[in-house]
């Protein structure tokens, strides 16, 4: 596996190392704001210190891997389905925020995901998603008494 092309500096690996380093800093900064209640030990600070130090070390470790090009080979990436699924989740988020309810949102998510997986029948899938959402909504809210965000459709049921 150690061909010469494999041994290039991996930019994505460096970004991962950087993110870990930022997380380590964040955990450390958050730790400094904590109060110690007992005069003897570090109490709530102990674990953040361990985690922060560990993350900083691992940032170095990941950076070394990136410089040595040790990251596993990656396949080409199709961005369209990712955007579709994340878009579906965003639509659900917005619909809940503006009071459009849960059922419409999940139906949209269903249709968006199935389009992401190559289906070409958005309207049909939207209706299937709608039926599934109604079913699950009834199961959750009526049978299990769990509360889900409501909108116009939910009030009809």
């Amino acid at each position: 596996m150690s061909t010469s092309s494999h041994r290039r500096i991996d930019a994505a690996g460096l970004v991962i190392a950087l993110v870990l380093f930022v997380l380590a800093g964040l955990a450390w900064w958050d730790m400094t704001g904590l109060q110690i209640l007992s005069p003897y030990d570090l109490g709530p600070k102990v674990m953040p210190i361990i985690v922060s130090a560990g993350l900083a070390l691992l940032a170095v470790g990941n950076a070394v891997s990136a410089f040595r090009g040790d990251l596993p080979a990656r396949d080409s990436l199709d961005w369209r389905p990712i955007i579709l699924i994340l878009g579906g989740l965003a639509a659900l988020f917005v619909l809940i925020q503006i009071g459009g309810g849960f059922i419409l949102g999940t139906a949209l998510l269903f249709a968006a995901t199935s389009t992401a997986f190559g289906r070409r029948a958005f309207l049909v899938d939207f209706l299937i998603g709608l039926a599934l959402a109604v079913l699950v909504y009834l199961l959750f809210s009526k049978l299990l008494a769990l509360s889900l965000p409501t909108g116009p459709l939910e009030r009809l049921l």
Binding site: Y40, D78, S114
Partner: protein
């Protein structure tokens, strides 16, 4: 003999009609999610956590265990018929199993997997029954520093020792530990890493993290690679039944697989993958039909499948006796105990023997149910694979978001689910293991409370960790397990050994 008395008592709990029903629901769900690609037992338990919150603890934990066992059975079906193992522990089964299916011997392959799983599951559950009381006796003498050291061993073995890369495994673990810090610290009442967001004060929901990483992350990953390969389902052709020859070639691999699976699962040594590949390698070496390997040898299915199930049962030993999860599913089961305020460990054996022994007894029942469900009804399960992939993943996402929002009806929860989904996608893409994140989130706070208890007893002197002989030994083991993969490059290559 005391163990059998307790087991007998547990049996009276397990055969209560409601608990039998929970076990049945568990094994049905478990087999279904094991068969379906894209969802595993860990995700299923995660989704069920908010739903089962109001149910009887014994019943829902029996159900979770049924899901765990069922997932192991179902995973082999997918591995054999479409060569896409539902979970990593079925990878070894896929090697010879799919070849057998292609050669028209899918029936016997499924049969040897199911019967082998039953044999191994039963022997290993018996092992659990006999071993648990001893471990409980030992664990009673553990102080907080010893528990902390023990958790360090589990952290290292789960993340670093047997993975592809110790650095990436530990990175996953520390991300989990970091997420475990978020929220109000119970001992001091101060909030950590919450940034004034009220939803973060109550800690990060295990369900949200697990569903994000497993369901959303998996959907994003599979969707983004859909253009690369298509899956092909092999029809089950020929007789379902094993011939006398098949039996003769299967029974020894079953027993050998069990011998690998149970101890490795019971030691906190990181999941079921290692014993399955060890078993595969052993059967390949010992077989009287070496010419069959590479063309579909039944030994190559019987051994790893037995090892797989024995390891699953073995994982329950540290989980129940020490509260130590060593796989993602075991970690989710620990979260299942925690949501009822129950902490697995020696105290639970003393306080709630009905629950613990009822659970163990129900494992025997679940195993028998699974044999019946999987042998004659395998054709039914295979039908599940006919669900078109777009609808399958769309359905998974709908259930995933519903489960998350039902647990915590807030838009912030949905946003976190999406963020964890993207994290899960990136981790898959860059080959970071997922399970250590979940283990870190669930076990991290437990480890922290033990560490702080130890430190407050010692008045802040960290040397307490080295003064207890048990703790010092365990920390030494953790250190060896941490350092070994850097020197023994071969250790992490169990997974790739037969590629």
């Amino acid at each position: 003999m005391e163990a059998f008395m307790s087991l007998g008592h547990g049996l009276t709990v397990a055969i209560q009609p409601m608990n039998l029903l929970f076990a049945l629901i568990g094994v049905l769900l478990g087999t279904a999610v094991g068969v379906l690609p894209g969802i595993g037992p860990a995700l299923t338990v995660a989704l069920l956590l908010p739903i089962t919150f109001k149910l009887d603890p014994a019943g829902s934990i029996i159900m979770f265990a049924g899901i765990y066992y069922g997932g192991m059975y179902g995973g082999s079906t997918t591995a054999i018929l479409i060569n896409t193992p539902g979970e990593s522990a079925s990878m070894a089964t896929a090697l010879e199993g799919n070849l057998m299916a292609k050669a028209g011997r899918g029936g016997p392959a499924l049969a040897t997997a199911a019967i082998g799983s039953f044999v191994a599951g039963t022997i290993a559950t018996l092992g659990l029954t006999l071993l648990a009381p001893y471990l409980v006796d030992i664990a009673v003498s553990f102080g907080p520093e010893d528990y902390f050291a023990l958790m360090c061993v589990a952290f290292v073995t789960v993340s670093a020792t047997f993975g592809d890369s110790p650095v990436r495994g530990l990175t996953s673990l520390f991300i989990g530990l970091l997420l475990g810090l978020v929220g109000i610290d119970i001992l001091s009442g101060q909030s950590r890493l919450s940034f004034g967001v009220p939803e973060l004060y109550d800690n990060i929901e295990v369900t949200t993290l697990a569903v994000g990483l497993f369901a959303v992350g998996e959907a994003l990953y599979v969707a983004s690679r859909r253009h690369i390969h298509e899956e092909k389902l092999e029809a089950v052709r020929g007789s379902l039944w094993m011939t006398r020859e098949d039996w003769k070639r299967s029974w020894k691999p079953w027993l050998r697989g069990t011998l690998y699976g149970f101890p490795i699962g019971a030691l906190p040594a990181g999941g079921a993958e290692i014993p399955t590949f060890l078993s595969y390698a052993t059967e390949k070496r010992l077989t009287k039909h070496p010419e069959d390997f590479g063309k579909g040898a039944i030994e190559g299915v019987a051994g790893p499948e037995a090892a797989n199930n024995a390891a699953a049962a073995g994982t329950l030993v540290p989980l129940l006796t020490l509260g130590l999860p060593t796989s993602a599913t075991a970690a989710m089961m620990l979260a299942g105990f925690q949501q009822y305020g129950l902490n697995p460990g020696p105290l639970l054996f003393a306080d709630r023997p009905d629950l613990v022994w009822g659970l163990i007894a129900s494992l025997f029942i679940a195993n028998a149910m699974l044999l019946v469900l999987n042998l004659p009804l395998v054709g039914l399960w295979v039908r599940l694979l006919a669900i078109p992939q777009p609808w399958l993943y769309a359905g998974i996402l709908v259930f995933a978001t519903m489960g998350t929002i039902a647990a915590n009806p807030s838009p912030v929860e949905l946003m976190m689910l999406t963020v964890f989904g993207v994290l899960g996608f990136l981790m898959r893409r860059f080959d970071f293991p997922i399970a250590p994140v979940v283990v870190g989130l669930i076990l991290g706070p437990v480890a922290e409370s033990q560490l702080r208890r130890a430190l407050s007893i010692s008045l802040g002197d960290p040397m307490v960790l080295l003064q207890s002989p048990i703790s010092a030994t365990l920390l030494f083991i953790a250190l060896v397990a941490l350092v070994a993969p850097f020197f023994l490059k071969g250790l992490g290559r169990f997974k790739a050994v037969e590629d």
